[in-house]
Structure formats: C-alpha cells, structure tokens
C-alpha cells in the first residue's frame, strides 16, 4: 500500500462506518451525502453560508492554537463565545442608534474580545498563580458562561418587543459589510488574517517562541528565565479574547441577535480540528473550512432527511478515532 493510500484509509473507513450508521437508521447514505455536499458546498447559497460559518470557527481555531501551543487547555471557548456574543448583541444596536454603524461594529468587536478575555481571566489567574488545572476550571466557567448568557437575555437584556426572549437586533443593513454583493461578510477575511497571523506569531516571533518553550516544558521555560505565571496568564487571556471575538463576529456578521438557549457549541467542533491540523494555521484553516461545509450541510440535511445536525460531530469523531487507530504503533 502506498503512503498516500494509507493516509486516506482512515477517511474511507470513517465514511464507511458513518454510512452504516445512516443505513441502520433508515437513511440512504448516498442521498444524505449528496444533500450535505450540495447544501454546504455546491450551491451558491450553500457556499456563501459555509464561508460565513467559517469566520467564527477560524477565530476559535486561532484562540485554541494560542492556548494549545503554550501547553494550556482552554476548553472554555463556548462560554467565552456565547457570553461575548450576548454582550455584543445587546450593546451593538444601542451603539448603532447613538453613534452610528462604525461605532457599533468596532465597539461590538472590542467588547466581544474584552468579554471573552474577562471570562478567561479567573481560570487564567488560578492556573498562573495557584497552579489550578485549567482544563477543569475553563470547562466549568464555560457552563457558567452559557447559563449567565441565558439568564442575562431572559432577565436583563431582553428585547421587550419580541415574544421569544432575545436581545435587541442589529438591523441587517448595519451589520458587517458584505463582500462583492454576496452574503459573505467582512468577518471572513478578518478571521482568516487572524488565523494566519497567529500561525506566524507562534512560529516566527519572539513571543511565539516563549509560548512554545512554555508549551514544551514549564520547567525549561522557568530555567530560561521566562516569567512563567505571566506568560500563562497572557496566553489564556489572549485565547479567551479570540474566542470572544468569534462570538462578536458571528453576531455582527450573521445573526444580529442572540436568542435565549442558543448555543452553537462551535468550540467542541474546532478542538479536534485544530489538533488534527497539529496546531498549524494553514492546515487548521483548511480543516475548519471543511467543518464549516459539513456543519452547514448537515443542518440542511437535518431539515430534509430528519437526521439531527449533530451527525456532523459523529462524522468528525469517527474520522478522529479511525485516524487514531491507523496511527503507527508507538515503540
């Protein structure tokens, strides 16, 4: 077997297994696949939706790359994302009405980043100065963040003119500028630039090298005279800010509002993607683009064929497991 065939084997296996699952629940896997690809990629509307979806996913990828490179596990991106989205959705329409569109967009993005960073600050400080495991604290803070966002929407930030609890809505015309007459918004190039910039920062800069030494071994980092607690705090704070920015971009670019009980849980999807790309920004962008297609496609297929949209997570999980199984044994 050639190397290339070996590399593709896990994907073939994953397709096969997922096909079997679909057959078992009485769905034609070929029809399902066709719907997913058509609605996610091979239709003008689908490709535009996928590209818009890619924007927050790319920013989350950048957030995770920053954290993982430093050997830190920010698993609280979903809470940081949703809380930031909620703050942006609640404030941007007010800023827009008072100071105009530019203030709404810039202020919304800045507030989103700040909110994400603020929600990461407690686990970051506990990790940096008290040595508390950030895997647990960021995850717990994520649940709190999601609940707090819902509570805020229902109790404080609720738009009085709607029946379903949701925040104020930023009018479509006031959202992030659309590109070339499509529905794809400015958030996409912004996010792409940030992912690639993050890649260069981590691989080509002095600060990136400091973070990599920390990720390699905190003992080595200390020995090299680096301020390990401050570096730890900064990396987690930056990671939170980028996750928050993702929330801001998604609201200002696509949704315009946050409804109570909305939680897209993009973080869960992007963590494996970033690890699959081995924290490389170029690969991460590619894998995230595929994820966006899958995620948009499966959402359509859910309506059409009754397979829950979570099936994209099943597919991603099966791909990862078969990749793991196909890994050469460690000697």
């Amino acid at each position: 077997m050639t190397r290339r065939a070996r590399a593709l084997l896990p994907f073939a296996l994953a397709l096969l297994l997922c096909g079997a699952v679909l057959l078992a629940v009485g769905v034609d896997p070929f029809e399902y696949g066709a719907v997913v690809l058509r609605r996610g990629l091979f239709s003008p509307r689908g490709v535009q939706e996928s590209l818009s979806r890619a924007a927050p996913l790319l920013l989350i990828a950048a957030s995770l790359m920053l954290s993982f490179r430093a050997g830190l596990w920010n698993l609280g991106v979903d809470g940081q994302f949703l809380l930031a989205a909620t703050v942006t959705a609640a404030t941007a329409p007010v800023l827009d009405a008072t100071f105009g569109r530019a203030a709404a967009l810039l202020g919304g993005l800045a507030l989103a980043a700040l909110t994400g960073a603020a929600w990461a600050a407690l686990p970051a400080a506990l990790r940096a100065w008290r040595g508390l495991n950030e895997i647990v604290t960021t995850l717990m803070m994520s649940f709190l963040g999601v609940s707090l966002a819902n509570t805020l929407i229902k109790l404080v930030l609720r738009d009085p003119d709607t029946t379903v609890p949701q925040t104020l809505t930023l009018p479509v015309a006031e959202r992030l500028p659309r590109l070339f007459g499509s529905t794809v918004h400015l958030g996409l190039p912004l996010a792409l630039g940030i992912v690639l910039g993050m890649h260069l920062l981590l691989t080509r800069s002095a600060i990136g090298l400091r973070l990599r030494v920390l990720g390699e071994s905190p003992r080595a980092a200390r020995h090299m005279g680096l301020d390990v607690p401050r570096l730890t705090f900064t990396a987690l704070l930056g990671s939170g800010a980028l996750a928050g920015l993702a929330g801001g971009v998604d609201i200002l670019g696509v949704w315009g509002t946050v409804r109570a009980d909305w939680n897209p849980a993009y973080g869960l999807m992007v963590v494996p993607a970033v690890l699959l790309a081995r924290l490389n920004g170029y690969w991460a962008a590619l894998v995230v683009a595929l994820l966006a297609v899958l995620s948009v496609g499966t959402e359509s297929a859910a309506v059409r064929l009754g397979v829950p949209s979570y099936f994209n997570l099943v597919f991603v999980a099966v791909v990862l497991l078969s990749l793991g199984a196909a890994r050469p044994r460690r000697v």
Binding site: S205, V213, R219, R222, H223
Partner: protein
Amino acid sequence: MTGPVLELRGVEKRFAGVVACGGISLALHPGEIHALLGENGAGKSTLVSLLAGMQTPDAGEIEVGGKRFAGLTPAQALASGIGVARQHPLLVPTQTVAENLLLGGAGWRRPRRDRAGEDFRHTGDGFGFTLSPHALAGSLTPAEQTQVEIVRALWRGWRVLVLDEPTSALSHDASARVLRRLRDLRDLRESGRGILLITHRLDEALDIAGRITVLRRGVVSGTLGPEELAGGGRAELRQMIRSMMFGDTAAPSPTPLSQGEGAFCSPSPCGIGLGGGVAPTLELAALHAPGLHGISLTIAPGEILGIAGIDGNGQTALAEAIAGLLPATSGSVALDGTPVTSLPAAARHRQGIRYLSDDRMHEGSAGALPLALNLLLKRIGAPPFWRAGVQQDAAITTHAQAAIDGFDIRAPHPWAPIATLSGGNIQKALLSRELDGAPRLIVWHKPCVGLDALAAAQVQARIRSAAVQGVASLLISADLDELFALAHRIAVLDRGQIAGVIDNGPGARAAVAALMTQ
C-alpha cells in the same frame, strides 16, 4: 544460632549498562542493627528499591524469612515483612496520615481509619512523634513525612526494617531517638527481626550498629563485624571506614594542584590562597532561601569552587539562588561587587551569571525545538537574532553553525530538534549556550552526569579552559573524583549549610570525606 533474617546473594542491577549494584552479598542477622554506608552512587538507593520491590535485580537472589526470591514485587516485599522508610517519602499527598498507613490493604475490607490513627499515635509516642494521624500528608514537612514513613514501615508487622537515610530529613537527635528506641525493643532478638540502616553518617553507624557494611561503586568494599567494632577505637574505625568509602584517603588527589599551574589559573593572579588580594567575582553573604540556611562564600576570578555533599542537601537551591530562579529570603548575592539579589534570572544572565542545569533533557533544553533556537533560549528577542520581535533565520543559523563548529556538536542540521541529538551532544550545545557572550560566573550543576568517558572529558576540558580565561565557576558534583580533578577549593554542603571549605591538595580527600560523613 538461627540463620539471617534477610540475605542478599550476588545481587546485580544495571541501568542502561551503568552498574548500580555489581553483585552485592550481605546478611542481616536477627536482633541486629546493620548499617550500610556509602557515598553518592555507591548503590545504596538501588538496594533499597530492590528490597521494597520497586526494582527487580538483573541477577542474584534475595532470601527473606526462609523464602528465596529472584526479585520481589511490592506486595511480596510487604508480605515478607520488609518495611521500608524511604529517604524521599512516598505518601499520597491528598490522604491523611492514617489513610496512608492503610494503603496496600485488602481492597474488599473496610479501611479501619480509627484504628490506624490510634496505632499511629501509639507507635509515634514511643518515638517522640507528635503528629496528628488526621493531618493531610501533603501538608507535612519532610521531617514529618519521614516520621509517617517510619511508622508505616513498622505498622504491618515487620521482620526487616529498612531505614533509608533517616537523618536526611529528621534531626540528628530525632533519628538517634528512633534508633535507640528500636534497639531497646526487648523483642528485637527473640522475634527474629533485624534493622538495615542506610546512612552516610559514620558516627550514626558507629553509635548504633552491630555490624557495618560499606558499599563503593556498587560493590561491598568492606565489612566490620561485632568483634571488630567492639575491638577498635573510634578514630581508628572511622579512618578504616572512610578508606573503604572513598578509596585510600591518605593518598594525594589524582591531579594535585599547584598554585602557579597554568592550566588552573589565568595569567593574571587569580587570587586563590593569596589572602583575598583580588576582588571576588561572586560573593554570597548569609544567603537564605527555601532549602538554604545562611550560605556565605566567595569565588575569585578563574577559580573553580567545588560543592560536595550528599544529594538533596541544598545543591539545586544553591544553584537556583545564584542563577536568580529561587528568590532569596534574606542575605545577598553580589557579582563583581555589585548586588544582584533583586534581579530576575534573565537580567542576571545578561550580567554574566550562567547556570548549566543538571537535567539537560527537561530543563536545560526544549526537546521539540530546533538546536539553533535552543542555543538562544536564554536570549529570546535579542538582536540580531530577532528584529522588532521577528525571528531572523539567517543570523540564527550563522550563530548555530559557529557553536556547532566551535564545540564539535554532532547534529544533522542546525534546525534539527535538539532531542534528536545524543546526550553528549546536547550537553555540548548547552555548554556553548552558557559560555556564549561574556560569562563572569558559571554554575555547573553535575555537568558530566550520564555522559560517557570521552564526552565527560571534553566537558571537563571546557570547564578548565573557561577558568583559565578568568571565569569564576561553582562546580556542583556528586562525583568526588571530578571535584578533586577540577576544583581549587571544595565546600561541603550539608542540610542547606556549608559544613566546611577545604583547599584542594594533599590530604583534601580525607578532609572532605570527614566533613561529608560527620
């Protein structure tokens, strides 16, 4: 007379080809306290691991309680009645003292915390321990943890008690009290029990032991039975044991130093033994830090000050306190007369204080990062290798190539991950990093540990030539031969304090040996 409680026959253990125990035979007789003496690397700790079942011998056999084993598992060691109180306690930090006693009991039985706690109090009282059995093990001081280890070793009904360096954590008085108490237990003889006391303190062994075995480089280098111990005078016995431990201490050092010898002194007067005519490069004054209790010493330009001592007596703390990694609680560190006590490590590095770690794989280098970057990890961001924070590959490659050529580092490529290099080549890379620029003082922490003879010789040559160029050196080593071959003076570190400083030369070996075994 009944046979021994514990007998080792030709026990061997090697680690990656290095002999830790090279065929050790010894017998522990009932009713006896048997002291096992030896310096660093003599094989004492390995022997303890073999008895506790943490390691399996490569050859030989262990006979305990009439049963023969090619190797013990921890469960077999416990079942055979071998109780081990380790030098570095192995307690579960999140559990209480009583719960730590219960570990290893039958899984299906309800743990009797109350009874364990009462037993602990009862046994502990006899030794003068005043520790609560409900305290969390992780909150205990090293001395208290050692107390728990001792009680735990006794708790299960023991036949053989192994006490590994009890004085390293306990005070001298406390450990003497424990040993006297154990000796005076009326039934030590009748019940067929024996105690193996591992120590490097001669007087402790002479005070308490009925039999002494000395290990040197993995083999038994001498034994003193009850008759010999009773017959000889104290001074005479001490001298005998020291020569068993350290080789012939009366002989001069392998490479005696003479004051004017070019290989050891820079052309300018280097101030050693000149009554302090030259200002010291490094001066520590009453330095206190966690693990260090009032260290005062000076090192002249071009001087190599050796630090001898049993591992764990503050060597790492001393190195880190000088490098700026461990903040001083009081006292001062001065370089060339200027205090640097409040400067962090990076600033001290810039001023010329260098520190070569004893763990080159996990602390001294970042394995997955390229060799070229590892050479600059203590100067991240500095020009010309970074400009406005951006990495300059050309300058970094040139710098790495110079190190590779100058230090004969065998690497496939300057940008190969440093972990792909051999241990000797990694060490050469780290030497080049610490010698780069204008070093004033270098702390060499076990620079040759784990290296083969050729690589070690190259490293030692570098240390010498740095000294010739006027760099002050602090050489921490567990290898006395290395210290006597390189250092001008040797200080002995004992429980975070300097026990004494000896000028290298004829008779230095005996003097250092005497300080180390106090």
